[in-house]
């Protein structure tokens, strides 16, 4: 399976108050997008500019977006989602409030053999751990029912945690489940590309889709920009560049020109909330890749 990736993907940070530069800007954005209509308006703007892939976190509010796209399917005949799971704060807050086991119970179906295992709090066999991973993926995927999701990503906080723990087999469990159950290609978001590529290779995942910060100032490119450049030249993987503008720290033309020099990079994901920014970034990418 070799899913074709669009050159330009639309991200969702701006909708949920994520901004790497300013908490005030983040808050202003989350105010602006508290109504679904405001989010749809921006997605429509992006769609009219030719961006038909929405790469989004499995935030509760994305369920409303999905509902819209299901209801108006005829309006977006070629639209697709790249879900990125999980929305980590949902889990982190639940663990802080309820403890790890109770938090897990909250997010999993309560019936069945698994419920009994969790209630018992006894040692989990590895088969059970695999079942839990699959059930968590299924729980996150519920909102996308009936929509096209050709690539399903593991968020960087989980990818990089598993990577650090050295539990590489978990990448394989995720990849197998995503392929088997959703006929989708697994994707991995990371801040640690060189290290992750070794781990994915060890897990037997060939030519993986990897989404990572790739920008001219080396912002959150662990291992350093030079090592990333070597990896981009030499390793077999399908990179998607994010944080290309480094939250606005690099002028757009310069930022995209930097990414353009690496032939291996298949896509650029960016988020914006104004028509002018969306059009400008999209047409810059089109121009530099023409």
């Amino acid at each position: 399976m070799n899913v074709a990736l669009d050159r330009v993907l639309f991200g969702d940070n701006q909708f949920f108050g994520v901004n790497h530069m300013s908490e005030d800007k983040a808050r202003a954005q989350s105010m602006k997008f508290q109504d679904l209509a405001a989010i749809i308006e921006v997605l429509d703007l992006a769609y009219r500019s030719g961006i038909r892939t929405f790469m989004c976190t499995t935030h509760d509010r994305i369920a409303e977006v999905c509902e819209h796209f299901r209801a108006k399917a005829d309006r977006y005949p070629d639209y697709q989602f790249f879900p990125c799971m999980p929305y980590a704060h949902k889990y982190a807050n639940a663990v802080t409030e309820h403890g790890m086991l109770d938090a897990l119970r909250m997010f999993l179906p309560s019936e069945g053999a698994l419920g009994a295992i969790l209630r018992g709090g006894v040692a989990l066999a590895s088969r059970d751990a695999e079942t839990i991973i699959r059930l968590l993926v299924d729980a996150e995927m519920k909102m996308f029912q009936g929509l096209r999701t050709p690539v399903i990503f593991l968020q960087n906080v989980v990818t990089d945690l598993v990577l650090g723990l050295g539990a590489n087999a978990c990448f394989g469990i995720f990849a197998d489940h995503v392929r088997g159950r959703y006929a989708a290609e697994p994707g991995f978001i990371t801040m640690n590309v060189p290290r992750l590529l070794d781990a994915l290779e060890a897990a037997g995942i060939d030519n993986p889709i990897v989404c990572a910060n790739i920008n001219k100032i080396g912002f959150r490119m662990c291992g350093g920009r030079e090592l990333y450049e070597q990896v981009l030249a030499a390793r077999r993987f399908r990179p998607i560049a994010m944080s290309v503008l480094a939250s606005g720290a690099i002028p757009p033309r310069e930022a995209i020109a930097y990414v353009r020099q690496f032939d291996r990079i298949e896509s650029i994901v960016f988020g914006a909330s104004s028509a002018a920014n969306i059009r400008q970034t999209k047409s810059l990418i089109d121009e530099l890749y023409a």
């Binding site: 908490e23 802080t96 640690n192 720290a249």
Partner: protein, 363 residues
């Protein structure tokens, strides 16, 4: 390679474990937690030697460094056990719940020549480091007020069955949230000499505080305020901010940016013009070798490893430094500053404003 063990595999512990394992100078030789369901899975998938008994782990794997990320009430005895076996220690915040324990452990580490550190990771955030640099330079003139704030969405309804909702375990917003803000006050503006006007209340919790407010007093005449509330859903995640006012300007820093307003150019910062100067995290952040959740978490572990290699005993966030924050906490609880402890007010029993006014009850 430094033989390293970790105890406590909750949210912070797992994150620490991932960072430890990714560090080129550290060799993780043991991990310990009382939750067997967790250590079993971890052992199977990561190949780590896992334990459920802390003392047994220390005796069997003989680590030369130990990271402690257990609930706060266990810190003192676990730190002591590690130091007694000659291990360097990294302990999650808050350091200890009893200042006397802290003093004993500082002395113990000093006499054994062991490296210590506490997980006040905000001191490794570029924007807060920049704030500390500017305040210490004197460019703000005479500092007369500081405000430290921390808000977030942790306890949003009654109930909660974890140690964070148990007072004896060091739960509550004071130990969990406020101590970060207090440590930043110590780091950026210096330690206050006194505390008054303490308010610690439950919003939803019945046994611990969900909000903490107080006034700081400095003997030089400056004042400050602490505003902490972890029952605020309008924040997506923990948000911590410190503002310092001086006769020559104002500075505000959070994890993302450091905003400085200078009234006039100051010889201590000759390149900074009057008016606003804003520096962002993209510009202030030092890259790390491995990233998980934020550069500061990796940076603090890297600093600890380097301290061990260099036998740096008085480094950033060493026990002695973290004990200052525990002292500030003790002033707030009334156990360390001669102040009367203020009881936690529970929502159900909170008297009306009118009755409080009539009764002259400030609690």
């Amino acid at each position: 390679m430094i033989r390293t063990a970790i105890v406590g595999l909750g949210k912070m512990g797992l994150s620490h474990l991932a960072i430890l394992r990714a560090h080129p100078m550290l060799d993780v030789v043991g991990a310990c937690d009382s939750a067997v369901y967790l250590t079993d899975v971890l052992a199977r998938y990561s190949g780590l030697a896992c334990f459920s008994d802390y003392a047994r782990m220390l005796d069997e794997v003989r680590p030369s460094a130990v990271l402690i990320a257990t609930p706060s009430s266990a810190h003192a005895t676990m730190v002591e056990a590690a130091l007694a076996r000659g291990a360097h220690v990294f302990c999650e915040k808050p350091f200890v719940l009893d200042v006397a324990d802290g003093e004993r452990l500082v002395a113990m580490a000093d006499s054994a020549g062991l490296v210590t550190q506490v997980g006040y990771h905000f001191r490794f955030v570029g924007a807060f480091q920049e704030a500390a640099r500017i305040v210490r330079s004197g460019a703000l003139g005479t500092v007369h007020h500081v405000r430290a704030e921390a808000y977030g969405p942790v306890v949003l309804r009654p109930k909660g069955g974890t140690w964070r909702s148990a007072r004896d375990a060091g739960g509550g917003a004071l130990y969990d949230y406020a101590c970060h803000a207090l440590d930043l006050v110590n780091f950026i503006a210096g330690m206050p000499d006194g505390v008054d006007g303490v308010v610690r209340q439950g919003v939803f919790s019945t046994a611990v505080d969900d909000e903490v407010y107080c006034t700081f007093r400095y003997s030089r005449g400056a004042s400050g305020q602490l505003c902490v509330n972890w029952s605020d859903e309008s924040y997506r995640k923990m948000s911590t901010r410190i503002t310092v006012w001086g006769t020559n300007g104002r500075l505000t820093a959070d994890r993302q940016e450091c905003q400085l307003y200078l009234r006039s150019r100051h010889p201590a910062l000759p390149d900074t013009r009057p008016g606003w100067t804003i520096r962002y995290t993209t510009d202030l952040t030092q890259e790390v070798w491995y990233y998980l959740r934020g550069e500061e978490y990796s940076a603090q572990i890297d600093y600890w490893a380097e301290s061990i290699a260099a036998r740096r005993l008085d480094g950033r966030n060493c026990f002695r430094s973290a004990l200052q924050t525990d002292r500030l906490v003790a002033m707030i609880t009334g156990t360390g500053g001669g102040l009367r402890p203020i009881p936690v007010v529970h929502p159900g029993r909170r008297p009306s404003w009118w009755r409080r006014l009539v009764a002259g009850d400030r609690a």
